[in-house]
Assembly symmetry: C2
Homo-oligomer: 124 residues x 2
């Protein structure tokens, strides 16, 4: 797998929990997965949803998700290149996790989100 932070399963009763977050705790991974729940997307299409993510970063996150078997990368042999990303079966099986995160976030983001301290660049 791609991530190191949670890849060691140091704990026992909780290690399946650790294993699961280990796959989605990159800076942009959960968001990418969330967007892909809505269907197949192209590279720049994903990028446009998270403008603060550099292409390098996005590539990295996508490659790790692919390595972990959560998404599928389909390259079309065209010349303005076309690459489509979509959830694999395994990726789709994470829907309950993503939904739970979304629900919790929606319900509680007021506690953490905007109050102060969001950077003045573009927060989209």
């Amino acid at each position: 797998m791609a991530k190191a932070r949670h890849s060691r399963f140091d704990c026992n009763p909780g290690c399946s929990v650790e294993a699961a977050i280990g796959l989605i705790d990159g800076k942009w991974k959960s968001i990418v997965l969330w967007h892909l729940l809505g269907g197949t997307m192209r590279f720049n299409e994903i990028r446009r949803t998270m403008l603060n993510c550099t292409p390098r970063m996005l590539t990295k996150q996508l490659r790790e998700l692919e390595e972990d078997g959560l998404i599928v990368r389909k390259v079309y042999a065209q010349v303005p290149p076309k690459v489509e990303y979509s959830l694999s079966e395994l990726g789709r099986s994470m829907e309950p996790i993503l939904s739970a995160l979304k629900r919790w976030g929606d319900a509680n983001i007021g506690l953490y989100g905007k109050p102060q301290g969001h950077d003045p660049r573009e927060a989209t």
Copy 2:
């Protein structure tokens, strides 16, 4: 909040997802929360469930969880010190997330946990 990695909410439709994982993506946080779902625990009691976590690390994770309002720290004025940690209301409200992670991990850990890449030190 304590974490920086996900504290900027760079994305919009997915930022509530980001907000949620931002609170549980420390190396040991999700595990601590998972254990605390089972009830109040003392410092060393938690430690014993994750022997690879140094006290310094555990303290850090617990402090961040407390800062984020997910757990409650109760200090008893005794002399072999006694400190109890438990989930706050907000922490308990994460149960669906934790459970979803656990279920997914239990169902799929075989794909990642054992196959390759677990280090030969003690995996407990």
